[in-house]
Every structure is written in structure tokens, then in C-alpha cells.
Symmetry: C2
Subunit: 348 residues, 2 copies
Amino acid sequence: MKKRRTSKAISIGDVTVGGGATIVVQSMTKTKTADVAATVAQINELADYGCELARVAVPNAEAAAALPAIKKGISIPLIADIHFDYRLALAALEAGIDGLRLNPGNIGETEKVKKVALAAKERGVPIRIGVNAGSLPGDLNPRHSVARRMVEAAMRQIRLLESLDFDLIKLSLKAFDVPTTIDAYRRIARMTDYPLHIGITEAGTPRAGIIRSAVGIGNLLYMGIGDTIRVSLTAHPREEVVAAYEILKSLNLRQRGPVLVSCPACSRADVDIVSLAQAVETKLARVDKAITVAVMGCAVNGPGEAKEADIGIACGRGTAVLFRKGRKIGVVEEKDFISVLMREVEGF
Amino acid sequence: MKKRRTSKAISIGDVTVGGGATIVVQSMTKTKTADVAATVAQINELADYGCELARVAVPNAEAAAALPAIKKGISIPLIADIHFDYRLALAALEAGIDGLRLNPGNIGETEKVKKVALAAKERGVPIRIGVNAGSLPGDLNPRHSVARRMVEAAMRQIRLLESLDFDLIKLSLKAFDVPTTIDAYRRIARMTDYPLHIGITEAGTPRAGIIRSAVGIGNLLYMGIGDTIRVSLTAHPREEVVAAYEILKSLNLRQRGPVLVSCPACSRADVDIVSLAQAVETKLARVDKAITVAVMGCAVNGPGEAKEADIGIACGRGTAVLFRKGRKIGVVEEKDFISVLMREVEGF
């Protein structure tokens, strides 16, 4: 795994992105932003799941008007997502938001971007230049690859902001196509040291969307690229946050809650491992310590994996060997598998 | 994305693995192998989902005795997974299986492996040397990293098989830890040109297991490594096959059925995109052709993404613009979104 790319640090409210800070998990609300109660409730639920930055779309004046009240109801920094109308960005800044996301493809004239940048600078609010393959500026060379045009769109905005002496910049270059997205981020990572927000856009419903996101984000993270991640799913945003943590956990980049190691089950298992693992997973959902628990079905890899875990059982016929931190600490009857395992987890 | 590593081709029944062949999807049954009816039914279901190689555990003589009848009931090649007892490998070969998987950590003496290799060679049956981090031979240098010891275990068996003039070899080096797995495969990929079976072992229940597998397998495939994949999940094996295809589709390595592009939905959408995308996904599950369908919630990236798809709708308030192959072909009323989209998909 590559050493993490060196990036500048920016602060979005009290959350640092880049500069070697922990990789930050963010998501976006799916409520109507103008509906303050619903939006505050959704952001607070996301925060409970570990979301560290919340973004809301600000498509109109009513949404902008709701921002001060939303800010009051939540405890994580708030980012406003703006398209087309730069005046909404100015209103969001006025309302006290902590970060802005602008799409270079649809804000329009330089003068408008300038106005927003100056107002953001005054308040020390970072701007994410959020390039999206689906909305690239029309005047880029169509013979260049999509990834290259995404980079060109980003660089154009970077130069504009830099010319205004504005450098509280974060970048994203997202496409639905995973290799295109990876290519775009690899290119921009070599060209600038701004922190990168990574993700796959319009990744779809959870079934395929989680996989597309894990492959895309997982490749970038393995390359050392990425300071904050958002998994985009056509689903409740809590699914995005859970998936983001699973991606980070799979590469040992963050810990959050238990990790369950369980074998796929096969003809060798004398226990119904699928049901057992599901039952343990359900119990573990209420545990919030970072602990590795192994539920293994047979003698082949069971003892080996169970030993590596903090707590593990390797099941045989009617009994299982219980391990704690690599040491065998007992033999358990099948009827007690779950209760003993959970007692050990509680006491760990 | 890296060019695919050059590997030797082997044949498992009528399926070619390596040598530039299409990356093969495989899975493993979770029935008792001795239960012929259940095992045959599960393999045939897996084949319907696109599984191209089926593996069964052969933990005892009854399982070995069931193999000829299983072979008769299925149409995809059959691989026997053997641990501890080399005589079961001999029995499986006798029974006409198409491939063998042996774990170097637990077959024991060289003489036993030799007997199996000679019998396999006689029948032209390939052997997978399936190294697993949870069951490494005990005499490897414990100061070497797990990945390095996995490679050493594999190389030891390779040399033994090669000394018997046996080269119908496939390799796997799986761990639960994703970076360890990637490291092991990268090392072995440089050292031999045998085809590689890739996967993350004991990846867990679907929620986390799919993500661990997508990150691990997705990184290896992006590096050009991998000739056949198995996603290991503590779940029905059809979930493994579906996930395997989604990983391959995300990197444009295989096509199978429709790809659904859908936006995550946000305050900008005037339609309930989550419900709409789910309804379209359900309808598409019955469609067999490789087609990209986009369901987009607003005017920001909607038209751009919808245009890139084979068929797409970009929803507005009460109506959507319908695209076919990048051309706008009409405007659709909200009540007709699903029916019109599906009519276009059918006719594509």
C-alpha cells in the first residue's frame, strides 16, 4: 500500500481534511433542505453512524434560508452544494455554512466565481471544486479522454481561485465509470497538493453501488490518494456512511466498531455458519468497541483465523474451541456459542 | 488500469483459466456434498447466475462417493476441495472431477502430494495450490511477514509439483486482511506465470464481506492480476456470484445483464429517486441484455449521465427527458416513467 499522498490541510468547521489527518467520512442529506426538522434529524442520525461532515443541496432561496436553523440543530460541520446560481453560494456563506461545493461546469462566468471566492475567503470557508463527468464545461477538447477533460475543468477553476489568492481548496473528480474516475484522480494527484474528496458518482442502488464505490475508492486509497470519502448510493444516506467505514476498515485506515471474520461455510461445517454469523453480527451491531471477532466453521482455517482475532470460535461437531487473543481459553457447547462469545466480547 | 499479467492457460473441464482468457467466475457449494440432490440443485442455480466453475468440499469418503452423481447432474466443471487426507484427492480424481484444490498447509508429507500429482497428471486435471493465511505450514520463518510466508508456502508446493513434471497449476494466496492478500498476490505474480485464482478469505457476512472482497479483488484486477475470482461470503453462494460479476462489471472486465446508473438523490430531486431506482432495478433483474440504464433525479448531472447511457431519463418536476444512445427522444410524464423506460429497454 502506498504512503499517503502529501496534501495541504484545510479546516471545514472543526474538521481537518488533508495534511495527513485521518480520512474523513462524509455524506449528503436526501431531505428537502428547506424542511429544517427533517434535515436536522437526518444529519444527526448520520452523525450517530460516524458521519463527520454533512452536505446539503441548496437549489433555491428557501433552502438557503433554512441553513442557519439547520446549523443550530446539528453538531457536525455543514457544507452547501451549489449549482447554477452563484447567489445561493453567497447566501449560504452569509448563513454561516462551513464549506462550499461548486461545480465548475455550471456556475458560469468567471466574475460569479470570483464573487463567491472573495466572500468565502473573508470567512475562511473552503470551497470544493466538484467536477462531475456528467456536467463538464462544453468548451473542453472533446478528443481528450473524459478523465483528462475532468482534470482540465478542475485545473481551470484552481487557477481562477489561485489568481484571487484563494487556496482553501478541496477537489473531487467523479464519474460513474470506475477506471475513468481512478484515472482522473491519479492525474490530479500528481498536479496539485490540494486535499482530495474521493468517490464514484451515481453509483446506483446499494447492490451494485457499494461494489462500484468499494472498487473505485478502494483502489484510490490503496494508491495513497484521498483525504475524505463519500459513498454515493441511491438509498438512505446512513447506508453511505456504513459503507464508507467498511471500505476504510478493509484497508486498516480507520477502526469503527467490531470486525467480523466469518468463513463462507461449506460441506465441512457441522454448524449452520450462515445463521450463526448473522446472529453474531446482529448482536455486534450494538457493540461499539473496535474488536475483531471470528466465527469459523471447521478445523481447516478455523483455529488459525480464530487465533488471529481478539475473540474467536472454531466450531466442530457440537462444540467449539474458544480463543482470546490467540490463546485457547475453553471449549463451548453449541447451545452456548452466541452467549459465550458475547460475554467474551463484553469483557474484552 | 494495468495490462493483464501474462499467465499460462489451464483447462478445467471446458473452461480456460489464464492465458488471456476471460476472467472466470467461480463459487463453492454450502450443501453437504454427500447430499447429491441438494448439491446438484445448488450448482445448477449458481450456473443460472453465471457461475462458471463449481467447487465442493470433499471432507470424507461419503462426499467423494457422491462426486460421480453430482457430475452427472450439472453442466459446469466441478472442482474438489481437499484438506488433510490425500486419499480423498485420489478418490475425487477417480470420480472424474475436473479440478483439485489442495492446501499446502495441511496435506502433509511430500510423498502424499506426489501421489496426488501423478494421478492428476494422468488425467490432465489441474491442481490449485490454495494457500490460506489461517493455515500456513508451521516451519516457515515467523519473522517473515504473513504475505511473505504465504508466498513461501506456495513456492514450496510449486517446486514440488514441478519436480514431478506437473505444471497444470493454479495458485491462490488468501487472507482475511486485505492489504496482506494484495501484497501476497503481487509478490507471487512477479515470481511465476501460473494463473491466479483471487479472493479474500473469510470475508464475513454480505454487508462487510462484499466490501472487503470488492476492495481486495478490485485492487488486484486493476493491477492486471487475476484469472478467476471467487467472492467468499457467509451467505448463499448465489450472492457470491452476483457480487463477483458486479466487481468485474465495475472495471469493465465483463458484461452481464444491465448496469443501472442512478444518482444518490438529494434536495434537488423533485421525484422519489430511491423508490424509482429500486422499481427499475427490480424490473431490470429480469432483463438479460448488457445495457446501461440511467435514472437521474435532476438537471445537474442528469442529462449528462442520461445521455451517456444506452437508455436514460433525467427527471424534472412531473416529467422527465428520455434519452436513447445520447439522443433526446421524448418527454415522459411521471406516471409513465417506469413503463416507458422498460419499453425502451425491451426494444433496445
